[in-house]
Amino acid sequence: MKIIELAVQHFPSYVNALLLTLEATVFSLIIATLIGIIFSLFKMSKNKVLRGIVAVYLSVIRGTPLMVQILFIYFGLPMAFGFRWDLTVACVLIMSLNAGAYMTELIRGGIESVDKGQMEAARSLGLSYPQAMIKVILPQATRTMLPSIVNQVIVTLKDTSLLSVISFRELTQNTKIIVANNMEALTMYFICGLYYWIVVNILTLLQNNIERRTKFGK
């Protein structure tokens, strides 16, 4: 069968491409999570300046398409400031900024879903605000947020395909290059989709597993 032949033939390049896709996804999500934690705390703080910064950031990221963000940051900024991007750095940065906005809203929602008596109980025992956040609030918020976090991981993973527009050789770009040579668009894009599909479904299984293990007697 041709599909198996082509899949085997291009397997080595797909391993590389898959690694790049995962690299961009994983690093971006780690940074996005940090952005999310810090900015959600900013957003809930009493300081108007901090809240203002977050509001502008969220409105810019959510108000513009990811494709435009990619083109603006990769082609636009170097033109204005006269520098060259390292491709991988630019890709991780763009995806982090994008996912960071969605993570901010998601984490804020999770933290606010925790009963305020939890913070009071932790503080009354003598824990500082950061200690109470880390030991008491975030673990509970994470449990609530898990489905939306996994959803965001899936969205970011699939969004990395847009990085093909700046020649980042992840799964989609790799396929485009192969198709340009062998003209097997139907088969190659099917194989490409299959790689995404497998990773997404592994993540879904993982989510179900974590949810089962964190029921806390309920």
Binding site: D115, G117, A121, S124, G126, L127, Q131, V136, G217
Partner: protein, 243 residues
């Protein structure tokens, strides 16, 4: 007797609403003070000002010699000496009963995990729940949850315990088991401030009763005086409704 808690001209407002008008009182070591009054009288707010869970608008609160209204005071340090028990328990649902009790001493480096575990078992035994050490709060009854909450507060070796309507969220048949633990605590000499509607507890365990209404302490004295021979019309009116 040494003054454990000294409250001087305490005022508290939420926006335009003044909840505590002008509260002054001294609480001595080992004293059990029971605060009663109608809902909205400010009694819970008063209690929550004693460990600064509520910011204090004006006046002074001095606990164990620490002025907690002073911004320079390390409030986290002072709070380690003040245990608090809440109406809705506020146990940590993602931790087992034992973890609930050991979390604060271990996090605040007062004990290593092993010592904290041993102490937790002793405390759980004392509140009659040693067999529940490894279950999660969701599997406990209300009365059991509140007893764990008391053990959790005691794990920090506080010398003051604050109780904010500890039995109000309980089914009637579970009130007794919680009050028994509190009575035991009082007999061991703990300084306690208890906001409650349990007049029987006030009479039996309380050294002093404060009746609050409209943000003021309207009347105070021994349980026999305040509950038995109230002088103020508002106290008489309140007691006629609850007794």
């Amino acid at each position: 007797m040494e003054s454990k808690i000294s409250v001087r001209n305490l005022k508290k407002s939420f926006g335009d609403l003044q909840v505590l008008q002008d509260i002054s009182t001294e609480i001595t070591e080992g004293e059990v003070v029971v605060v009663i009054g109608p809902s909205g009288s400010g009694k819970s707010t008063f209690l929550r000002c004693l460990n600064r869970l509520e910011t204090i608008t004006a006046g002074k609160v001095i606990v164990d010699g620490f002025d907690i209204t002073d911004k320079k005071t390390d409030i986290n340090e002072v709070r380690q000496r003040i245990g608090m028990v809440f109406q809705h328990f506020n146990l940590f649902p993602h931790m087992t009963v034992k973890e609930n009790v050991t979390m604060a001493p271990v996090t605040l480096k007062r004990a290593d995990q092993e010592d904290a575990d041993k102490k937790a078992m002793k405390l759980l035994e004392r509140v009659g729940l040693a067999d529940k050490a490894d279950v999660y709060p969701a599997q406990l009854s209300g009365g059991q949850k509140q007893r764990v909450a008391i053990a959790r507060a005691l794990a920090m070796d506080p010398d003051i315990m604050l109780f904010d309507e500890p039995t109000s969220a309980l089914d009637p048949e579970m009130v007794g088991e919680v009050l028994a633990v509190m009575k035991d605590l009082a007999q061991r000499g703990m300084t306690m401030v208890v906001v409650t509607h349990e007049m029987g507890f006030a009479r039996e365990v309380g050294d002093r009763v404060l009746f609050m209404d409209g943000g003021y302490i309207v009347e105070e004295g021994t349980p026999a005086q305040v509950l038995g021979r109230p002088k103020q019309p508002r106290t008489i009116d309140f007691l006629s409704k609850v007794l």
